[in-house]
Every structure is written in C-alpha cells, then in structure tokens.
C-alpha cells in the first residue's frame, strides 16, 4: 500500500510541476503588459515602470520562472494586480464557497445518479431505463448557464420558492454572526450550531447546487448503468442467479461494489470539472466563489490571479484523482498492483 501511495504521489507531483511551467508560459504569452492591470488604464510611464519593477517583470523569463516556482513552494502565490492582495489570501476566501457548492452538488449527483443507474440497469431496455437514459442525456447536454437562468427565473424570480441569489441572507451577519472554522458556510454554521445561517445557507444552496449537479448526475447514472450491466453478465452473476438470488439482489449486493470502481474514478473527474463548470453558475447566483474571482481576474488581465486559479484547479484535479486512486486501492485491493 505504501509503495502504491508513493508511486501515485510522485506522479501527482510531476503533473503539478508541469502545470506550474504551463501556467507561467501562458501568463507570459498573453499579449499586453500586466503592469497596466496594476497601474490602471491611464497609468503614467513612471507608474508603469514602478509596477514592472515591483513584480519583477523586467527580469529575463527563466529568472521569472525560477522566482515564480520558488515563491509558489514557499507559499507566495503572488499579488493580485486587481485586488492588490496576496493571491493565496484571495483564493482562501473564494475557494471554500466553490467547494461548498460543488460538494453539495456532488452529494446530490451521487445520491441521484447511483440509484438511477441501478434502476436503469435493473429495467434494461424498458421504460425506466429509457427515462433514465433520456434524463441523463438531457442533464449532460443542457448548457449549465441556460439551466441556471431558467431555474432562477422560474423557481426564484417567478414562484419565489427559493432565493434569487447569494450564499445566505447577509442580514443574519448582524443578528447571528457566524464564527468561521473552515470558511465553508454550511459546515461552519453546523459546527457552531448557528441554525439561522445554516438553514438560510441550505436554502440558498438548493438551486445552484441542483444546476451544478445536473452534469455529474447524468454521467454517474450512465456510468453506473453501464458498469452494472457489464457486471450482471459476469460468471459470478450467473452463479448467484443459479443460487436463487433475484436480479435486484444480484445488482445491489454483488455487482454494485465492483461496478462502483469506474464510478469512483468518474467522480474524481467530474469533481474538478464541476469546479470549473460551476463558474458560470456562480455568476448567475452571485455565489462568492472561485468563478466570480476568475471572471473578474480574466476581465482585468490579472495574470497572477488567473495563474493562481489555474494552479488551484489543477491541484484539486490531481488531489481528487489521488484520493480516488487510494480509495480504489482501499476498496478493491486488486487495483493496487495496476
């Protein structure tokens, strides 16, 4: 298990190093002077020169790359040209909100996707299967931005069942201030027993989480169905049938465990995907997460911030894959030798 862990960690580090180099290259290949983003659109030549000197933009590119890598390792992710704050601090404020949204969405996606996949596999080629396949295809193919606007217009703006936007009712900050532990509002409210903010945050989470959940739920349902159908054709399933187990029992008691292996890999992939996919949803629902930060950074050509977001997303992707690799090894020891 340790060797398995070390090998996976080594691979992950290589990927991260590659991302750092690529991120730096993209930062420097983008046309335009990053100093303008810091000094303003009407900056004087002196103000521009000062900004260039401050951010080391006059150094040769290899020196800049080395400095960038060294700073990253020491925890300095640079200073945002737009907010003028350390990028790491900005990300620390924005990332937990995205994590909250995507976490909730993935819970919904797994809770809906796996049972729907089982249902479709159990009733293969019949009406429930057709319904699940059609539904998941729709969930996967509907543009997330459109879905967000549609749900917001109908269920928030029109029917008034849910809040239009925001993470929670900010007026509660006055009446019941939230003590932060993880910066994830729902978790902090739960930990500290702040029920007004907890219920408000959950209420605000429903629509955006449903939108972000649509794509993962669709692919998880389809993958679960396919994996279960494959498992149901294996020798062990024939034996179980011979022993008198019913189809539902075979699927849920014997086939589901091995079938979940590819689903776990898929979850890691869709997790990172959902973080980026959620950017548009965050914009529609005023969600104070990475999406808003990334959008404003891109608009103002804030290269350190864009690089920070890119690196963070890459780290999440690598970390999610690593965790799933380890989980797979844990759940199914056969995979450790692969």
């Amino acid at each position: 298990m340790l060797r398995h862990l070390a090998r996976r960690l080594g691979q992950a580090l290589l990927v991260v190093a590659g991302v750092v180099v690529l991120t730096f290259a993209v930062m420097r290949l983008v046309p335009g002077d990053p100093a303008v983003a810091f000094a303003g659109p009407k900056a004087t030549p002196e103000q521009l020169a000062e900004a260039r000197a401050r951010f080391g933009l006059d150094d040769p590119l290899p020196v800049q790359l080395l400095n960038y890598a060294r700073d990253l390792v020491t925890g300095d992710w640079g200073t945002s040209l737009r907010t003028r704050q350390p990028v790491r601090d900005d990300l620390y404020l924005a990332f937990p909100a995205s994590l909250e949204l995507v976490g909730a969405a993935l819970l919904i996606a797994i809770a809906a996707g796996v049972p729907l996949g089982v249902l479709a596999a159990r009733h293969k080629t019949r009406l429930p299967d057709l319904g699940v396949r059609l539904g998941s295809m729709l969930a996967v193919s509907v543009p997330v931005f459109w879905l967000a606007l549609a749900l917001q217009t109908v269920f928030a703006g029109g029917l008034g069942w849910f809040p239009i936007a925001g993470e929670y009712d900010s007026s509660l900050d006055t009446t019941s201030p939230l003590t932060l532990w993880t910066n994830i509002t729902v978790v902090d409210a739960l930990i500290t027993g702040n029920w007004p903010i907890f219920t408000s945050a959950l209420w605000h989470l429903v629509l955006p989480a449903l939108v972000v959940a649509a794509y993962p739920a669709g692919v998880i349902a389809q993958m679960t169905r396919a994996a279960l159908i494959e498992e149901a054709g294996q020798d062990h399933a024939r034996l179980e049938r011979a022993l008198g187990f019913g189809e539902t029992s075979i699927l849920t008691r014997f086939a589901l465990r091995p079938a979940l292996n590819p689903v776990l890999s898929l979850i890691a992939l869709v997790f990172a995907y959902a973080i980026v996919n959620g950017f548009l949803v965050e914009a529609v629902f005023n969600w104070p997460g990475l999406g808003r930060y990334a959008a404003e950074s891109i608009r103002s050509l804030d290269t350190p911030a864009i690089a920070g977001v890119t690196l963070l997303v890459a780290l999440v992707y690598v970390l999610a894959n690593l965790v799933v690799d380890l989980l797979q090894g844990f759940v199914d020891p056969r995979t450790r030798s692969r």
Partner: protein, 538 residues
C-alpha cells in the same frame, strides 16, 4: 470490514482532513482585516444589512467594490463607496457646468488664475472626531501629491498650499488652472484626516455622511456603510441611514433582485431590460449622458491613413445614425469631442454619414471600387459589444468601397502596447476626464508627443499644441473665451486634421426601485450614487 463500511470510513476521514486543512480557527466573519460585525450599537438588531428596507439602500455593482481604501491613491471601482465617505472642497454640477460648495463654501481666484483662495465650512468634523480645518485639508492634499498614486497628477499645477487661518486655504499655482474643477475631481481630491488613513478599511478618515460598517472582501454583500451621526449636514428621518453593496455580476440576476425589492439600484442595464424598466411595477428607469465618448483615432503619422483624404473618407463612411439606433439608447450621437455637461461642449457638430463623399475622397487618394483595394488595421476592446457593433457596421460599409477592415479585438494592455508602437491604422478607445474638465481630451489625446501615451492618432501640430496650452488659463480666467477656443480646437482636430471620428457618447441606463426619491445622475462621478441626497417615499 465490509467494503461499504470501508468507503464510509474513508469518506469521513476525507471530510475530517479537508476540515482540518481548511481550518481558519474560530474567526467571526468580517473580523480580522475587516471590521467585525456589530451585535450591538451601530446596527440595531433586526435591521438587515444586505436587504433593501426602509432604512437600507442596496446598490448592486457588477464587480468588487473596494480594491484600495486609501483616499490618496484610490483610482478604481471604490469611487462608488468612497464618494459617500469622503468629500472634496467642491462638487461639480453638470447642469450649470460649475463647481458647487462642499467642504469649501466659497472661493476666489486672482485675475491671472494663479492664486486660489478657498473658505472652508465651519464646524465640520472628520469621522475620527477631529475638526476639519485648513491645516488638515492642506496636509491631506500634500499627502495625496506625495503619494503620486492614482490620479494625483491632477494637482500638478499646485506650487504651494498655505493654511492662512483655520478656515482659509490658499493655493499658489505654477501656471493658471481651473482649480475649482480640480477640487471637484472624483479621485485624489478628497480631504481626509491624514493620521487616520487605514489601508485595511477598518476605519474611515473622511467627513462624508457615511462611515464603514462592515467590509467582507469577496462576499456577495461586500460592503455596508452606516450614517455618520455628526455629519455637518445633519440627518432627516426619511434618509437612508445604511447602505449595502451587493455584488451582482449578471445583469439578469440584478434585474430579478430589483424586481423582487432586494436591491434598490442597478448601475447599468442592457437596452432590452432598460426598455422593460419603464413598464415594470416597482421599478423606475433613469438615463443620463456620461462624460465618456468613443474615439476612433486615425493614424496620421504612418500607413494609408497618413493621407488626410483617407481619414476624411473614413469619417464620412461611419454610419453615425445607424450606430446610435443600434445602440438602443446606451449611446447617443456625439457633437464634437467634448460631451454635453462640460465647458467646451459645442452643439451643431454632429457628424453624418456621406458615402458619396467617402467614395470621392477615396478615389482622390487612389482607392475605391474600381481602383486599388485598401486594407486597414483596426484595434478595439475585446468584450465591448458597443465597439464591436461599430466595427461590424463600419466593416460592412467599407466593403462596398473596396476597403477591407482587418479588425482585431484586444485587451486594453495589448491594444495600448501596440498603439504606442504605431501598430495600427485605426485605434478605437473610450476617453473620460478624471476631473470635469474637457482639457483632458486635448492634453492627453491630441497634444504632440515624441513617445505617444494616449496621442494614438500621433497628431503633431504646433498650432494645436499652442492652443491646447492656453486652455487651462482661459478656463481659469475667462470661460467665455475658453468656450470659443474649445470650439476652434475641435474644428481643427476633427474637420481640418480629420484625426478622429467621435461616433457616440455613452449613456447610462440605470434602474431603481420606485420608492427611491431624489436620484440624479452626475456624470462627473461615474456610477456614484450620493446616498445622502436620497429619500424613501412613504
């Protein structure tokens, strides 16, 4: 252990690890670097901070509100908040085109426009409780000048500041300038307590009607302001005592929040939504011309546009009326270089499309349908739909004249870099003044420069330069003569030199909840709502 139990254990462990790594350690939201939310005192329990109500005005900006809390160097979006926290000596009135009293009640200038004396308002206190007097005002302006950040250059004419007595502030200038317009600037002209400036935004050092209540960077309700009870203007019950800034990037979301009564003000709508504002219950629309116009600058120094006939043909080819119609009210046809509301604006200089003239001029320059094809490089701002519209219309018109427009959308940094190297034939950009004075266009965009910064038509004309140099003194001493000089200059630059075409001036299309009274757009302070001037209809 059974597999699903293992999975459960692993999941729980993962959550614990995640929680531990993200752990910030028991900080109250808003505290630490930002003001701590009050549970008593300034914000009475039950008065929401981020929701519109009798007492709270909610402004929906489309991006982060504050990036710089220092009133000396601030030069960005925070103008919408700081203009309510800080005050200058004067404030510009775009209807009368004059500065009006604020911290200064009156002012005089010498006949040569080089000495200005301001009488300060009595009994004004900073938010710190210290009195605002001439010495404090002098220190604030001197600190802003020394910092050299943001728009500090507006004080360039100032040679010396003297606090004659507690209520008299005297400026001696290096050259004549309209200092009452400089002191009306939206940036770098604020008077503040220099000993109380807090770059972290925990406290404020101004004299304005509002002080900071909470600042939660990165949150949806990023900033709340509360009434400064000792404000020199006093308070009436119907005024808004609290203000919240609720960051809403999406226009459609802002529109829904406005309709539901959760916000009071949306800073800019698109024309389609603005059209709905007039007929939507609970919502009122407001539109006003800005001081920001679009400049189409032709390369007078190099390439085919060096030929004045080509430049004049391009001016004549733009479909000004069609563009204004397509903008659906978000832009209005310009008359001259100086927008309405500023000294120097001239009526009767509205341009018109004249394709026959364009064809003749091009033919005289050797181009046209039966002649040589002309290719022109144009750069404009990426993501700006209005500029894109102009480029699309112009491109299709020019095609008929055998002119191919090679249009490149670029971010400002890249476009500006290329422009400084004379890398295009046509440069499209917006211009706006930092203080309400038309001089900004002429000094920055049309005065000769060996290394062009914003003179991206690369115009070099000593006669025009000399006329530009006279403008500050004329504005300071003889505004009627200044008006005439501005007119002549615009005729020279637009008609004689054909260095620029000005297709439109941007118009703000905003929406407010119908219960807000007293709102008036002031283009000298873009997107600023002076909350103190508003009342809520009962």
């Amino acid at each position: 252990m059974r597999w699903h139990k293992r999975l459960l254990v692993a999941g729980v462990a993962g959550v614990l690890v995640l929680t531990a790594t993200a752990c910030a350690g028991g900080q109250v939201r808003g505290a630490g670097g930002t003001p701590q939310p009050e549970t008593s005192g300034g914000s009475p329990a039950g008065q929401p901070g981020g929701q519109a109500n009798d007492n709270t005005f909610v402004y929906a900006p489309n991006s982060d509100v504050v990036t710089d809390w220092d009133p000396a160097t601030s030069y960005s979006n925070e103008i919408v908040a700081l203009s309510n926290i800080y005050e200058g000596l004067t404030r510009y009135d775009s209807l009368t085109k004059k500065a009006t009293p604020r911290l200064a009640t009156e002012w005089t200038s010498s006949a040569d426009g080089k000495e200005w004396t301001f009488t300060l308002r009595q009994g004004v206190k900073f938010h710190t409780g210290d009195p605002m007097d001439a010495e404090a005002a002098k220190k604030a302006i001197e600190r802003t000048i020394e910092k050299k950040g943001g728009a500090a250059y507006i004080w360039d004419p100032v040679d010396e500041i003297e606090a004659v007595d507690a209520s008299t502030l005297k400026f001696t200038l290096k050259y004549a300038a309209p200092l009452d317009l400089v002191t009306s600037s939206g940036y770098a002209a604020w008077i503040y307590d220099v000993d109380a400036v807090d770059a972290d935004g925990k406290t404020t050092a101004g004299t304005g009607p509002y002080t900071i209540d909470s600042w939660r960077k990165g949150e949806e309700t990023e900033l709340t302001l509360k009434a400064y009870e000792d404000y020199w203007g006093g308070w009436k019950p119907e005024q808004y005592k609290k203000v919240a800034f609720r960051v809403t990037p999406e226009i459609t979301t802002a529109w829904q929040l406005l309709q539901s009564g959760e916000v009071n003000f949306v800073r800019r709508l698109n024309p389609q939504l603005f059209a709905q504002a007039g007929t939507t219950r609970g919502v009122q629309g407001s539109q006003a011309q800005s001081f920001q116009n679009l400049l189409v600058l032709f390369n007078t120094a190099d390439g085919p546009a060096k030929d004045i006939k080509v430049r004049q043909a391009l001016q004549a080819a733009i479909d000004y009326d069609g563009l204004a119609a397509a903008l659906e009210g978000s832009g209005v046809k310009a008359s001259g270089l100086v927008p309405q509301g500023l000294l120097g604006h001239v009526e009767g200089m509205e341009p018109k499309q004249d394709l026959d003239r364009a064809r003749q001029l091009l033919a005289a320059a050797g181009y046209g349908p039966d002649l040589k094809e002309l290719e022109l490089d144009l750069t404009y701002a990426v993501g700006d739909d209005d500029q894109k519209l102009l480029v699309t219309l112009l491109s299709s018109t020019l095609k008929q004249l055998n002119v191919t427009l090679l249009a490149k959308p670029m971010n400002w940094g890249a476009q500006w870099d290329l422009g400084k190297k004379q890398g295009q034939d046509i440069f499209v950009m917006y211009w706006y003044p930092d203080y309400p004075d038309a001089y900004s266009w002429f000094l920055n965009v049309f005065k000769s420069a060996d290394k062009p910064q914003f003179n991206l038509s690369y115009l070099k004309n000593t006669g025009i330069d000399a006329a530009i140099d006279k403008l500050p003194e004329l504005t300071a001493t003889d505004r009627t003569a200044a008006e005439q000089e501005y007119r002549k200059l615009q005729e020279k630059i637009i008609q004689e030199e054909a260095a620029v075409a000005v297709p439109y001036v941007q118009r703000y299309q905003r929406a407010l909840s119908v219960d807000v009274q007293g709102y008036q757009d002031n283009p000298a302070y873009p997107s600023v709502v002076f909350f103190y001037d508003l009342t809520r209809a009962s």
